[in-house]
Amino acid sequence: MSFLKIESLRKRFGRLQALDGVNLSLTRHEVYGFVGRNGAGKTTTLAILLGLMLRDGGRITFDGEMIDDDSIAYKRQIGFVPDVPAFPEYLKAREVLEFASAFQGDGTVDRDAVEEALSFVGLRSINRKVGSFSRGMRQRLAIGQALMGSPDLIVMDEPTSALDPIGRREILNLMQKLKKTRTVLYSTHILADAEQICDRVGLIDRGRMILESRMVDIQQKWIQPAFHVVCDDAPALKAFLQGRRFLKTLSVQAGNLSVTLQDGATKYLLRSLSEAPQTIHAVERRAPSLEEVFLEVLDENADTL
């Protein structure tokens, strides 16, 4: 049974149809990657889910309960990490978490949970005001405050997009830890991050979901074998292989030949390479990234959207 179900969600900004019937469902204890390029509709979907924006149409069911625009009780079960977290700059990290704890519950502060969260995000020893925090520290604090009240669902809106590589790695490590105990809805346009973390992904483009699948299924269904061929003269080898029916794509990348194949065509490639006049030094199999798969899916759907 779906833990969170979004059906036919619609939102229009003037002449722009930002969401055009978005459907999305999460089961408990999974990490769902909500991916798409900038402006695809990810943040709008999350803002409606979190009650920060009114919808034009559609249904949201959370833990079996229908959510309307005036509902607030369901938010006790949701923690949110925004892309650019902002907290009152005159507060310290501990005070931010104390307020988050009191807001999330019945007004009392769960001090044990506050200390636990500060330890979890590595801010327990920091006694400065939030105004002096780096972006990475603010992002970690955002994760800490999202954990107040032990919510079942953590919603993250591009939490790594504004961070440097070190900050991004820290947040991804925290997400790996979170993954063990929570359901996570993770919006991102950085597909390499989604690939590392997510159990399932949904691809949104121009306000419509164009793919929703388990990562395992995506790898089986979409990711076709690809090869790097290290050779003396890649352009000549490309010309030699050009036009063969078992090939899907053929390109020269960094002096080597990159090849993707139709199903079950590996043996034909190897046979052709053995007949090639060029010297072949190595043939390496590689897995195409999620990014390549999504670019392909976006390309396939370009005409229908």
Partner: protein, 255 residues
């Protein structure tokens, strides 16, 4: 609701805003009594510097003190209240703190009520402090101080401030910017000040009557019906504006 009030009160306690209110109220109270006490000396000194001599001024009275106090409060304290109100109501919009608050189970009505309660409490407490200080000083310096009338006049002034704060609240939620929040309240303030000089006919019953009401009360010249009408209309207007502010907040996207 208690947590929201604590959250909003923390803003005043952890920033110098509360000191602005208290400091200004105390300063204006002390300045008013000093100015009133030495008003004749100051004017004589100024005129002598211009070569005008042998003009006798009547000795200052308790009414000069009242006039100094309420003029200072109207001209300075009111403006500070309006500017701080606009900054306070719009800070969560302009600094993007809204997501921190509204992704939690918090109703928008409670959020708005908390803001109004905290802000009104802070400026009112500072006003009371300044008024009490002024009352003790005036009673010590001038004979004939009337504490009952003074309390009533201070309350009338507070009703006027409450209306301006409600206007600032409404315009802040509507325009989401500091200037958008402050300007309408300032325009109403200057409009009311102008209208209060024309106290003819039906104008006497409008909220603008509150601008001069404190001094009329102190002079024993206030009429009950216009005063009551101005207070009731102001309260109704403030309540209506606050309800509209909440409606706007409920319909607004908070991203």
């Amino acid at each position: 609701m208690k947590t929201l009030i604590r959250y909003d009160a923390t803003y005043f306690l952890k920033t110098p805003r509360w000191l602005v209110f208290v400091g200004l109220a105390v300063f204006l109270a002390s300045l008013s009594i000093v100015t009133a006490r030495y008003l004749d000396v100051l004017i004589e000194y100024a005129l002598r510097a211009e070569g005008v001599e042998n003009i006798d001024f009547p000795p200052p009275s308790v009414h000069d003190a009242y006039e100094q106090f309420f003029s200072n409060m109207t001209q300075l304290y009111t403006l500070v209240v309006v500017f701080v109100a606009a900054a306070f109501f719009t800070k969560d919009f302009t600094r993007q703190y809204l997501a921190f608050v509204f992704v939690k189970p918090i109703s928008r009505l409670q959020y708005a009520v908390s803001k109004l309660v905290v802000l009104n409490s802070v400026w009112f407490a500072a006003l009371v402090l300044g008024s009490v200080l002024f009352a003790f000083q005036t009673a010590a310096v001038f004979p004939g101080f009337h504490p009952g009338r003074f309390a009533l006049a201070t309350l009338a002034f507070a009703v006027f401030l409450k209306l301006l704060v409600a206007i600032a609240c409404f315009s802040s939620f509507a325009f989401k910017s500091f200037l958008g929040g402050a300007l309408p309240a300032l325009v109403v303030f200057f409009l009311f000040t102008g209208l209060s000089m024309v106290e003819a006919g039906a104008l006497r019953y409008l909220p603008s009557h509150l601008c001069n009401l404190p001094l009329r009360i102190m002079a024993g010249e206030a009429s009950l019906r216009p005063a009551l009408s101005a207070v009731i209309l102001s309260t109704v207007l403030a309540t209506g504006l606050f309800s509209m502010a909440v409606t706007i907040l409920k319909r607004r996207s908070l991203t």
